[in-house]
Symmetry: C2
Subunit: 430 residues, 2 copies
């Protein structure tokens, strides 16, 4: 009989990974949490950082700090490069080995270009903290360029932002950039009128926010239109280059010249999910998400649980559960509870308790769907605020800090619209 404590490895420090570590705080196990960054990222607020409304420290917190009171966790800032499912061992990027008795995979998703890797360079993604800071610097620098531009065509290009993708990220960032242009930049430039800033949203589908009902989706589109966002449905990008976007619209080829192109059209499970599929023979969908059993484990591997955006888990209606923080957090607790009780992973089926889905469109407007209830306008926004602040994990002071930041944003504060570098040039050539 071994007296060694069981070892739990967690890959990823996002909503799922962090919740799993926290849920194991009282368990008689040694936890190793590995993440590529030093921070837990509050991804639903990333578009606020990109549009200069919140600062970096308001969207992310160091994982070590959040877990510092938990003595059974060791945090490693590293990338997992290999997994040996037979030996139950991970290999990190410097060759370090991390053995486990239970493995919780919460590695999340990365931006996907659907095979068009050449689009990465001329566009801006919005998935990591560095993405958001890069996008903020780009947008603000493009406006500085517009201020200095001497010909109208160049100025128009600097003032045009194209967002590709009509999911929550695309809709939220388009709405917030329109608010930035319409409300926060007035009286600040002499070379152009901020109302000349043009935000175009290209969505390949029939309507934005397809995860919501047709009615809410139409409300969101109307809210965007009232903010002067030019929404084009059925528009599929065919080329992205340094000067703009070419797209297909009902068979016709169209072109928009734009200094800033934001790619918010697709995600793919992080590379570790692929390595794990190879090591275990697990199936995955087109987005790289691993097919898990009802209890969140991989077939034939009761000691490996996959949660959050890296997993494809059928909900009670047979459709895959959505990529929401609440899903990842509930799965994390389901898995951790079973491990704390002595098992290698859960054996009971996981059931998602729907806490709703929300999307914010501009200032004080949102759409929200909770268990059949559909909300829009300020009430939906208040719900959104409540839900997000509730999940703003860890330090209680953070919630207060973010409330005060949001309140002061509403009052038009300026301090997050800072460009980090001297005389940065927009990444796009002109």
């Amino acid at each position: 009989m071994s007296t060694e404590r069981r070892r739990v490895a967690i890959v990823g420090g996002g909503f799922g990974g962090l919740a799993a570590a926290q849920a194991l705080s009282k368990a008689d196990v040694d936890v190793t949490l590995v993440d590529r960054t030093n921070h837990h990222l509050f991804q639903p607020l990333l578009y606020q950082l990109a549009s200069g409304m919140l600062s970096m420290g308001e969207c992310a917190a160091p994982i070590r700090g959040m877990l510092r009171k938990q003595s059974n966790v060791r945090v490693s800032m590293a990338e997992v490069t290999e997994v040996d499912a037979e030996r139950r061992e991970l290999t990190l990027d410097r060759g370090e080995k991390v053995g486990y008795d239970s493995l919780i995979v919460a590695c999340g998703a990365d931006t996907s270009y659907f095979g068009h890797e050449e689009w990465q360079e001329p566009s801006f993604a919005l998935k990591t903290l560095a993405d958001a800071v890069g996008l903020r610097d780009q947008v603000l620098s493009a406006f500085e360029e517009a201020e200095r531009a001497t010909d109208d065509e160049a100025r128009r290009r600097f003032l045009t932002i194209v967002v590709i993708g009509g999911g929550p990220t695309g809709v939220e960032v388009a709405g917030q950039l329109a608010v930035l242009a319409r409300h926060h930049l007035s009286h600040q430039f002499s070379g152009f009128d901020p109302s000349d800033i043009r935000v175009v949203l290209l969505d390949a589908g029939e309507r934005v926010l397809t995860a919501f009902s047709t009615k809410l989706s139409a409300k969101a589109a109307r809210s965007l239109a009232s903010l002067s966002v030019d929404v084009r449905e059925g528009a599929r990008a065919t080329a992205i280059d340094a000067a703009g976007v070419t797209y297909d619209h009902g068979g016709a080829t169209q072109r928009i010249e734009a200094a800033t192109v934001i790619w918010a059209a697709g995600v793919h499970a992080a590379p570790f999910a692929g390595a794990l599929a190879e090591a275990t023979g697990a199936e995955h969908d087109r987005g790289g998400r691993l097919q898990v059993l009802a209890d969140c484990t991989l077939p034939r591997h009761p000691e490996i649980s996959v949660i959050g955006d890296a997993a494809s888990h059928a909900g009670s209606d047979g459709k895959p559960l959505p990529g929401l923080a609440t899903v990842a957090i509930q799965q994390a607790r389901h898995v951790a509870r079973a491990i704390a009780a002595g098992g290698p992973g859960a054996t009971e089926p996981f059931r998602y308790f729907d806490k709703g889905a929300l999307a914010v469109v501009g200032r004080g407007r949102a759409i929200c769907a909770v268990r059949g209830l559909e909300l829009s306008g300020p009430i939906a926004f208040a719900t959104y605020l409540g839900v997000h602040l509730f999940y703003l994990g860890g330090v209680p002071g953070r919630r207060v800090a973010v409330i005060s930041a949001w309140a002061s944003t509403a009052m038009g504060r300026e301090q997050s619209r800072v460009i980090e570098r001297e005389l940065p040039r927009p990444r796009v050539n002109v």
Copy 2:
């Protein structure tokens, strides 16, 4: 008789330039303010950003936002590359021309390596916002490397920070990094004990903070020692490379292996001051600071005023005025008042009203000298807080925001210790 409004050009949006623009708000002139960045930087707090205590938005604010209610100011984010003092015209980096009737030069100072330009690459400066963010990422990444290090020598190198320069910047950053190590990181690492983090301060002179009295200087050194900062006076760097610093100490050559070397030993007036000296024949000192007349103007150029760190202005005791925000702000107002009254610049001599000099050493400790009065300890810190918050220009909400940030810092908040990039590697090779 011309009906054209007089044109005032301001070079620099630091304390001097911003105060000059604000003091001209009601004057019948057209102001153009040119800065290389889009932000006004609160330089005295930069060491707090570098040590993860404050976030970027708490140390800087966009210049456009601060001046948005002032309709007679145009802001340009650009570098001034040439000045034609005869035609009274500036040339910006894209060839744009900015004519002026009055020129206020508040271009400040850059980091100087005293001819050792090769030290720039292996060391970290602390003069710009990008410097501070880069230093924060370096320090935090070095600790992550120490956590993963497998041999003791490498771990020690990652945990060693050498600060070169015993002026206010060097003393403040050394003290704050020691506080970070001693107070904020406990229970966060398993590969090392944060008290193993070693901060060494090398000062080439006989004592730190030579601008203060021998007594206050000794108090500061004692405060540093109580934080376990290893202060070495009379230590002159002779080489800085990827692995550490070599220095001369009383004729003996010494060596410290360190992953992080901070260069806080010297500044030089910004390049524009050199261009101006060439264009006007003005004299400058070794630090590139332009010799101005008692009224802040350049000899033979009553329409050119030089203020702040770019100027060498003899005080009432014949010694040059110190490089403090209060000096720059008072000079700006002195000059602006004369311009608003219709002159090309001031003709009355400028008199500095001494508001004191302060340096913070660690948490709640400071030394402070005001008009012959010498303070240290918590009272000096309170004075410092008061003075700094008072000058935290522009938006009143900022003062409250910074007070609350500092308060929560004292309570050990975590959110600014975020590394921006994924898996960043310390810049230094290992």
